[in-house]
Amino acid sequence: MMFERSPAKIWRNRDVLYRLKYSYCRDCKRSFYPPRGRCIYCGSSNIEHRYSSGRGVVKEFTVVYQTPVGFTDMSPMVIGLIEMEEGFRLLAQIVDVKPEEISNGMKVEAVLRRMIVDGETGLIYYGIKFAPLIEKS
């Protein structure tokens, strides 16, 4: 079996991909994702790693029609710029909602979804996408 993507790569990134592990800078008090050993804003290495609640807000989004190989069966695919509750922002797919029903300011939450199917015989990789937040009463 030929893998286009390394299964080990997905496994070692599991905390970042599935639990949204991010970095918080104790010096400048800012957060960023994916986590790094140094603050991308002030350069400090006084960093701690935290886990996101998975809830955020759509700041902007686009509907993509020219999708890369591996994503063509998801076309048209919505990519959102999402600001998480913890203050960091990321780019990810928005699902479970029609594009015309998405608006800036919409609350979303992380959901586990199929990301890429690695060819006809390869593995199926899962990861985080974002869906409209379902408020629990």
């Binding site: 029609y65 020219q66 710029l81 990301m115």
Partner: protein, 381 residues
């Protein structure tokens, strides 16, 4: 220490199904060789290419191209820095020459994007993004540029139609650019028939996929003195930004573009107003405006208003047609840009528009300003 360009050439960007990347690279130096009086004997060959491993299952391409060029016992290097590889390769050549490691360096940029279907090229383009955490979401520079377009339009109160002046202008420039891929004009409202790639961006907001190769001969001052025409590299620099635009504090300025351009002007010891011709990296329409504003040719949000007949202030921009119409064969693009500004300084490119100029510049970046390189050339004689 300065280095000098004494010859350049470029093949027309097109679909070359009958040529492999080695043959295209060889094709690119034919005109360059004709323009110099002695045999081409570089002591270093620097190859810029982004996609050859993926498209041709080939590594060690600098050594292999040197072999096909008949060059032996020289230094060979391959440079890859995303879409900015071309100008990165020029900077390596300049460093080798100005440090006196070599006296003559040949730079060739080459990529063949028409060797694979568009979806595969779109996949390779997404490789510019962090494969662990960004690319895996299906994010590519296209989706980033689409988000920037929407933010730019809302922040500065533009409609999509307002931004279309950029592709329209680029297609005004390209018909008389000999090496341009798309040598035709478009109408001001042709976007209506252009398919959407990532809304609001349409096909005409993007660059065409094509094959290209361009070459430069960069030499030391004592070698350059033997030639009637030469142009000096007065300044060059580069800078980088975070790879994901989501983490940037200011989405509408490309800090890598701004910083590298400031450093380049400082090294050249000139003011921005001295530059009468600049080639910028316009892989997508919003990026063109953000680049123009990042290098200081326009205040924030003003570039679409100020652009008139491909001029902003006293500077002509992208007379080649830019990536939009000249084309963007990734690893070769920065080399094409330098070929264009070099030729313009010699009065061999766009002379009817530019007349005689002393300084010209190029800016070459990857994605949405993830890394950016810039260069200033000066006509010596």
């Amino acid at each position: 220490m300065r280095s000098f360009i004494i010859s350049s050439s470029a093949v027309k960007i097109d679909r070359y199904y009958d040529k492999n990347f080695k043959e295209l690279a060889i094709e690119s130096i034919k005109d360059l060789e004709k323009k110099i009086s002695e045999p081409l004997e570089p002591e270093a060959l620097i190859i810029s290419s982004v996609a050859v491993e993926h498209l041709d299952k080939q590594s060690n391409i600098a050594g292999i191209i040197a072999d096909y060029l008949g060059l032996r016992n020289i230094r060979v290097y391959r440079v890859e820095s995303g879409e900015a590889s071309g100008l990165a390769a020029v900077q390596i050549a300049h460093s080798l020459v100005s440090s006196k490691a070599v006296k003559k360096a040949l730079v060739i940029g080459v990529d063949k994007l028409s060797d694979m279907p568009n979806a595969k090229i779109a996949e390779l383009y997404s490789y510019l993004k962090d494969s662990d955490y960004i690319q895996i979401h299906g994010v590519s520079p296209l989706s980033e540029a689409a988000l920037l377009a929407k933010i730019y339009m809302k922040t500065y109160d533009y409609s999509y139609e307002d931004l279309f002046i950029w592709p329209f202008t680029m297609h005004q420039n390209s018909p008389d650019t000999p090496h341009a891929q798309l040598r035709f004009k478009i109408s001001p409202d042709s976007y209506k028939e252009s398919p959407i790639l990532a809304e609001p961006l349409r096909l005409l907001d993007s660059y065409p996929f094509g094959d290209g190769a361009s070459a430069l001969y960069i030499v030391s001052e004592d070698v350059a003195e033997e030639y009637d025409v030469n142009v000096s590299i007065e300044g060059l620099s580069s800078s980088n930004d975070v790879n994901d635009i989501a983490s940037r504090e200011d989405l509408l300025i490309f800090s890598a573009v701004r910083d590298s351009f400031i450093k380049t002007l400082k090294m050249a010891d000139i003011e921005l107003g001295k530059l009468k011709y600049i080639e910028i990296h316009d892989n997508y329409t919003p990026n063109a405006f953000i680049v123009l504003e990042s290098i200081g040719l326009a205040d924030r949000g003003k570039a679409p208003e100020l652009l008139q007949d491909s001029m902003i202030g006293s500077a002509h921009v992208n007379l080649s047609g830019g990536l939009k119409a000249r084309g963007n064969p990734w690893g070769a693009t920065g080399v094409y840009q330098v070929h264009e500004i070099f030729s313009a300084l010699l009065g061999e490119f766009k002379k009817s528009v530019l007349g005689e100029i002393d300084y010209a510049a190029a800016q070459n970046m990857s994605g949405c300003g993830d890394v950016s390189y810039s260069i200033v050339l000066k006509r010596v004689r």
